[in-house]
């Protein structure tokens, strides 16, 4: 039984990791765009983005998952239907990407704004172009500053993927829970925790390594 459960959970875990990785793939760059927009001098860009961030950070991710999954159908445009599990997964991905882009954008904004203005000015008086100042002077300092909050947020994402359960995405919690229903076993659900722990442990080691790599300067 243990082997059967483990294999089932591994399948679910593969979905979890897929959702996690694809969310990062899209929300890391999208978050950067949002942060640049939210710092823009163009009010038409700045205020709608600030509003979006307020809504997304101010409502539960679980609710956002349901709105995105059921909303289109209620509006008479059931985009997720007819795709089966793929539709559920796609809806979850969209919700996660929007949610995490907003959180990441605030981390980027904090990182960019924490670089002293003197760094830009030093680059300017040395005749560097704006691109050179960003790439050669500012970027690495921003990365160094955002690694700790980013790793925190990314580790949260690992566990947040379990929320996709509410729209029946077959991630690991869903798989673990299925044994409760079919076999009356609760331990497979508890067992899922081991997978999360190992994965987060791996990420912690990775982020620790990156922080160490960047510790040569202050």
């Amino acid at each position: 039984m243990f082997i059967t459960v483990t294999l089932q959970l591994l399948q679910g875990f593969a979905k979890t990791v897929e959702l996690f990785a694809l969310t990062l793939l899209f929300s890391l760059p999208l978050g950067l765009l949002l942060s640049l927009g939210s710092m823009s001098r163009a009010k038409i860009l700045k205020y709608p983005i600030k509003f979006l961030i307020w809504v997304i950070r101010g409502t539960p991710l679980m609710l956002q998952l349901m709105v995105i999954f059921y909303g289109p159908g209620l509006l008479g445009n059931p985009v997720w239907n007819g795709m089966g599990n793929t539709g559920r997964f796609a809806a979850a991905l969209v919700a996660f990407v929007i949610n995490y882009s907003c959180y990441f954008s605030e981390i980027y904004r904090g990182g960019i704004q924490s670089v002293p203005v003197g760094q830009y000015e030093a680059g300017q008086v040395l005749g560097m172009t704006r691109g050179q100042i960003f790439r050669k002077v500012v970027l690495l300092q921003v990365i160094k500053r955002i690694v700790p909050p980013m790793s925190n947020e990314i580790i949260t994402l690992v566990k947040d993927t379990s929320l996709a359960n509410v729209i029946s995405v077959t991630e690991i919690i869903f798989m673990g829970n299925s044994f409760t229903k079919s076999n009356g076993l609760i331990w497979p659900l508890f067992y899922t925790g081991v997978f999360y722990l190992l994965f987060c442990g791996l990420l912690t080691i990775l982020f620790g390594y990156i922080e160490k790599k960047l510790s040569y300067f202050r």
Partner: protein, 256 residues
């Protein structure tokens, strides 16, 4: 012909007039000190010369070439502005070294980025020049140290080498020792003094009166956004004409 000619520079922040009709000239090889109390506009003037602030009026001319003219509000390309900036170098009060680069890399970064084709020969030349500058600053053993591994005085000397690496016509210092304790102040002033002895053209905003008196060819006293008095160190420090100058200087203990 004067190397630098600043005429009728004005600068407002919101409704505050920070600079009102500033005009002065300086010759090649001169050291000009700008003194005055905080808020008199000294730093703003330096920032205008380095195009970190855009003046609201006046002109800035270097070697007869008009770099800035407030009456021509034409949009300049970033490229043109960058070229104009290179006439001036600026050493900041709080150094502003790039923390992720070593002392030598701080000095060589901008010249390397400015190369049109970075072949190994030009890169080598820049490195050698950078080492030479650090040596002149008394930092030959500190090339590979990062800024946080250096004292404030050492950091400021790296910053001076960094500004010199681009061979500006005029090197500006914005209160270069204000962030340093007296001992570290001495080592930075020594370096600036030796630059003056080599006839580096410099504008120095400073609160070190004894130093200003020793190294300058010309002293400008600023008060409330105007040049209140201007002259040789002798004229300003021993027989100031203006009451304001006298008052300001009496706030400092006599360096003698």
């Amino acid at each position: 012909m004067a190397l630098l000619e600043v005429s009728h520079i004005e600068k407002n922040f919101e409704n505050t007039k920070v600079l009102k009709d500033i005009s002065f000239q300086m010759e090649e090889g001169q050291a000009v000190s700008i003194i005055g109390s905080s808020g008199s506009g000294k730093t703003t003037l330096l920032r205008c010369l380095n195009f970190l602030e855009v003046p609201d009026g006046g002109t800035i001319t270097v070697r007869g070439e008009k770099l800035f003219d407030a009456s021509e509000k034409a949009q300049e390309s970033e490229e043109e502005l960058r070229k104009k900036r290179l006439h001036f170098g600026l050493v900041f009060q709080n150094f502003n070294l790039f923390p992720q680069y070593t002392a030598l890399e701080n000095v060589t970064l901008a010249p390397k980025l400015a190369l049109e084709k970075p072949d190994s020969e030009s890169l080598g030349r820049i490195e050698a020049h950078g080492r030479e500058l650090l040596r002149k600053m008394g930092l030959e053993n500190r090339e590979n140290n990062y800024p946080h591994q250096l004292s404030g005085g050492q950091q400021q000397r790296v910053a001076i080498a960094r500004a010199l690496a681009l061979q500006p016509d005029i090197l500006c210092f914005d209160e270069p020792t204000s962030a340093l304790d007296p001992m570290l102040t001495g080592e930075v002033l020594k370096v600036i003094r030796s630059l003056a002895e080599q006839h580096t053209t410099m504008i120095i905003v400073t609160h070190e009166m004894g130093f200003a008196r020793d190294v300058s060819d010309q002293v400008i006293f600023m008060d409330k956004g105007v040049i209140a008095e201007q002259g040789t160190p002798e004229e300003i420090f021993t027989k100031p004409k203006e009451e304001k100058t006298r008052q300001f200087l009496s706030g400092y203990t006599n360096p003698n």
